[in-house]
């Protein structure tokens, strides 16, 4: 049994990003750990900022797992692999080989009958047919659905990757579970989700595959386009609700007609639509900040993977919690809370103290720091540095994501972590760097009062707890891996975890 996650469009990519962090925190059910989780991102706009961010997170996650011994505990225990393992690419674009794709180039009148050509003219305006699709389907699901359906045929022997590999793997898997996530108010997700789900269902018999999908309703808006932009074919925030209504009607009819496609449907929405800073509709500038609704989408994926084969088909509705989001409102209860808190506390401690200390091993040796002496002996310094940087990169991505998730929440106050305990600043190359305020570790996450005396609450507490480990406890295949293993355990917000 294997699990697959397919994120379609910018929202799909952002939901996959949230999913990666949930997996990093060890929230995958132990019974689902048999194999790696395969991930595929679908977006015609390969330069999309949200897609790039998700891709980068997946890549960093994968790189940390190359450090020997990492993954023995909750932290990054589960493997995430691209569906396209040959080229090791996370994302697929229907226009990968086209420099300037358009609907007109894809569907030419040559070879069409009069009726078909006439239908094409009725369904699509000239502007839609001529518009460049380099930045996606321009908020037009009708364009995306036609393009996707035209390209994808899983029974085609000449099928390109990653679909060829995916179809082979699905055929060879016993009871694969595929979770598809994306928005239904834009172009790519709204067109891609039903198309991909239908293709998979047609390719496999319904008893062989379980398909779940998370339909994300509008949860952000963007400023109205200026006069020049208004002339172009593009997505418009004011059309989101209308488009969602139409899409929901479609799904409602499909679910009642042939429920056999979906084994679980998750509807996610919120009344509050915070505005993103710009109305860039594609490319690098479309890098909308993460939103807590994507966290819900990620928990939906985990929930779906936990479902048993014989569980009845269900539709789950997840609605914004209102004015305040706290731990009690997140699915998964205390397990979700402790796991995410563990990852956050670890990332904070690692970036705020240990990584900085480890950058100067000569000083640590001079100071005779016991934890350093216990964990770091075997490898050469350069090897250690490479591994340490891999962990740093992932931790930074996680903390940046956490802060963004908490800040881009509109009128809903997200009360999960105190992310004002660290700053996020862009370096000279534009990469976001985390700057930790040293003494704020204890404020990052409110440890339960019964645990506050049992778990380390400052960097020095953690350091002393590391010092207390016996030499035997530090033995392992990799110095960095063992150190990460020990540090992660010590950063748990609960002693028994």
């Amino acid at each position: 049994m294997s699990n697959y996650v397919i994120g379609i469009g910018g929202t799909g990519a952002k939901c996959v990003e949230a999913f990666v962090h949930m997996v990093a925190a060890g929230l995958v059910n132990p019974s689902d750990r048999a194999k790696d989780i395969s991930v595929l991102l679908i977006d015609p706009d390969v330069a999309n900022g949200s897609l790039e961010r998700a891709r980068s997170t997946l890549q960093k996650y994968r790189e940390v797992r190359t450090v020997p011994s990492v993954g023995r505990i909750a932290f990054l225990r589960d493997g995430l692999e691209p569906v396209d393992r040959q080229k090791s690419q996370w994302a697929w674009s229907p226009f990968a080989d086209e420099a300037n794709p358009s609907f007109q180039r894809r569907f030419t009148y040559a070879g069409m009958g009069v009726l078909e050509a006439g239908l094409l003219d009725v369904l699509y305006t000239d502007a839609e047919k001529k518009a460049s699709l380099r930045k996606g389907f321009l908020g037009r699901p009708s364009i995306g659905a036609a393009v996707m359906a035209e390209i994808l045929d899983l029974d085609d022997p000449d099928l390109e990757e990653p679909w060829k590999g995916l179809s082979n793997r699905l055929k060879n898997d016993k009871d694969p579970k595929v979770f598809i996530v994306g928005s239904i108010f834009g172009g790519t997700g709204a067109s891609g989700m039903p198309t991909v789900a239908r293709l998979l269902a047609d390719f496999m018999s319904t008893s062989e595959i379980r398909i779940g999908c998370a339909l994300v309703l509008p949860y952000f808006s963007f400023p109205a386009p200026d006069a020049q932009q208004a002339q172009q074919v593009q997505a418009r925030a004011e059309e989101f609700l209308l488009r969602s209504q139409a899409a929901l009607s479609y799904y409602q009819s499909k679910l009642s007609e042939d429920r056999d496609i979906y084994d679980a449907v998750y509807l996610l929405g919120t009344d509050d639509l915070p505005q993103v800073e710009n109305n860039s509709l594609g490319s690098k500038e479309q890098r909308n900040p993460p939103h807590y609704l994507e966290l819900y989408a990620a928990t939906a994926a985990l929930h779906f993977f936990e479902q048993q084969l014989n569980d009845p088909v269900r539709t789950h509705i997840i609605r914004s919690p209102g004015v305040c989001l706290n731990w009690s409102q997140l699915p998964g209860g205390k397990v979700t809370e402790y796991s995410l808190a563990n990852l956050a506390r670890f990332s904070y401690a690692y970036l705020g103290y240990f990584y900085k200390e480890l950058l100067n091993p000569a000083e640590l040796q001079r100071k005779k720091a016991p934890w350093f002496g216990l964990f770091f002996k075997k490898e050469r310094l350069s090897e250690i540095e490479v591994s340490l940087k891999k962990v740093r990169d992932y931790c930074e991505l996680f903390l940046v994501w956490l802060k963004d998730t908490q800040s881009f929440s509109g009128n809903c106050q997200v009360d999960l972590f105190r992310t004002d305990t660290y700053r996020v600043e862009a370096d000279s190359e534009g990469n976001k760097r985390v700057s930790i305020l040293k003494d704020e570790y204890i404020r990052l996450y409110a440890v339960e009062s019964s645990q506050s005396r049992l778990v380390p609450n400052t960097f020095l507490d953690i350091k002393v707890a590391l010092d207390r480990l016996t030499p035997e406890q530090s033995v392992g295949a990799s110095d960095v891996g063992c150190f990460i293993h020990a540090l992660y355990k010590l950063c748990s917000p609960k002693k028994e975890l």
């Binding site: 005779k368 016991p370 002496g373 002996k377 010092d467 207390r468 016996t470 030499p471 530090s474």
Partner: protein, 153 residues
């Protein structure tokens, strides 16, 4: 368990006290001609008394080091360990050469200092801190760095 390591320190203190009470005086008696005490019971009593004071000093320093390392210091305090070592060294060497410390001046007083050094400094202080250390000070005692970070890996 590591917080109970101080018990080891106390046990080592008791052992060094027993050695000072019985073994070293016996050795001195066996070497009485070489040392030049000619079997003087008063001299041996004074030797034991001064030695036991040294044992007390070593044990006290070990426990102070342990308490500070366990409950006060969060970083390795290398300097303090060396200062304490120096105190035990002074306690081992100075009495033998201090005028009036012993009732009879003998020819080879350096042997007395050697015995005090072995019992109080080496066994009582170094060995005790080497094996019964507060966690934050694991690598501080002389030789611990190499022993704990290499031999066990």
């Amino acid at each position: 368990m590591d917080k109970l390591r101080w018990i080891g320190t106390v046990i080592v203190g008791a052992v060094t006290a027993l050695l000072m009470a019985f073994f070293w005086p016996f050795l001195c008696y066996q070497m009485r001609t070489f040392i030049g005490i000619n079997g003087s019971a008063t001299w041996l009593k004074q030797f034991t008394a001064i030695g036991l004071v040294g044992v007390g000093i070593s044990l006290f320093l070990c426990l102070v080091w342990y308490v500070l390392g366990e409950f006060v210091f969060k970083e390795s305090a290398t300097g303090l360990w060396w200062v304490f070592l120096l105190i035990t060294l002074i306690a081992a060497i100075v009495p033998a050469f201090w005028p009036g410390a012993f009732p009879v001046r003998v020819s080879n007083l350096w042997v007395v200092s050697l015995f005090y050094f072995i019992n109080n400094t080496v066994i009582g202080y170094w060995l005790s801190t080497f094996f019964f250390y507060p966690s934050t000070q694991l690598l501080v005692p002389l030789g611990a760095d190499g022993f704990y970070t290499k031999s066990k890996r």
